[in-house]
Subunit: 228 residues, 2 copies
């Protein structure tokens, strides 16, 4: 990579980090817990979010940002579940950035929000380099993608706090070893919180939703403690 | 995006295009047909290539380039099938570029090669912008990814000459409409040659391998015609 290119890349990342820090501070002040969902295209991010919203929306005040290269399909699917959703179309861009997210937050009533979920563009490489100001990154991986993805795309797994293994209802039809996949993921990041889920059968979703709720509550308490 | 950033991006793409044009000319002179395989992580590129190599290696002289963000796993899997393979580890890079491919060609006996297959990094966004000097791009999409991928990641489908739908053995276990997926793909690119395949059952692989062979033969004839 040329020196000029590296220099521009560093500037872009540093400008992004500053904006992200501002968002993080703003969300912390409001006591909002936020996650940045990262995965390959077609890993089941939107379907997981539809189920998650249904499980949480009576107890947690949600706001969602849905990023896509093209189309507003994901946002439209999520809006039908009765929660506020902002769509970001990157128009070819391979990841969301902090500026896009900061701008989309303007549309929400943040004082009335407990949990912000940002669905990144489907891409297991680029999104992991761009801080959006989230509390935590969560990486999704479907069982149909094979056991080796954590080894081949380590950055996303290294920077995530949790791994949601999706589509586990398909395991009986695959040559897929859940044990091997989790061993690979934990070799990259031993601190990963792991959820094995199926948005089709519902397996594992209560546990995932419970983890989110716990963080929402802890975050609220921290914000109240800091404000008193 | 800043003007500086756009400027550097244009320079990078233009330098890449020049290198790719050189590779294309070189491969054409040798009568080598080449494809650049693009898909999400875990769509089944390497498994398809393992089956393709087994079907073709007695009749077609193959050379393979396997790109990955990290690990040489794919290259090692392919080498076991008795064909020359070069691995490119991008070390975080989200796509292969023309320079990496041009360099990896040095390792092959191009005079003794009919078909060059380049397996790009698993990413449905960035690789579609970088010409590697290939004859054609081929996009893979597994049935587990959902019908909407062509609409959400149109560039890869628009620039490809063929679409290989993979893992069709799983369709009975999914809520997936092959008809809808192909309708979406053809709405982006009506000229796509489509192959519905399962590397597990072998369905559709003969047809895919036949298409490659036809192009290898046509390419050889063109090169001989031009050389005579």
């Amino acid at each position: 990579m040329s020196a000029e290119r590296v220099n521009v890349k560093e500037k872009v990342l540093s400008a992004n980090d500053q904006l992200a820090a501002g968002t993080r501070e703003r969300l912390a002040r409001q006591g909002i817990f936020s996650i940045n969902l990262i995965s390959s295209p077609g890993s089941g991010k939107t379907t997981l979010l539809e189920r998650t919203v249904d499980l949480l929306k009576d107890s947690v005040r949600l706001a969602l940002v849905a990023g896509d290269v093209q189309t507003r399909n994901d946002a439209e699917r999520l809006i039908r579940h009765g929660v506020p959703v902002e769509a970001i179309e990157t128009g070819g861009g391979c990841h969301l950035d902090a500026r896009q997210v900061a701008r989309s937050l303007e549309a929400f009533d943040l004082a009335g929000t407990d949990l912000l979920i940002i669905e990144n563009v489907g891409n297991l490489v680029c999104p992991s380099s761009f801080d959006l100001g989230e509390s935590m990154k969560v990486v999704l991986m479907s069982v149909t993608e094979g056991e080796d993805k954590p080894l081949k795309y380590p950055a996303a797994f290294r920077r995530a706090s949790a791994l949601v293994l999706t589509k586990i209802d398909l395991v009986p039809h695959l040559q897929f070893s859940t044990e091997q996949a989790l061993e690979n993921a934990c070799s990259i990041n031993p601190d990963l919180e792991v959820f094995s889920t199926s948005s089709y059968t519902g397996e594992g979703l209560e546990s995932w939703a419970g983890w989110l709720t716990d963080h929402v509550l802890a975050n609220k308490e921290n914000a109240e403690g800091a404000g008193s």
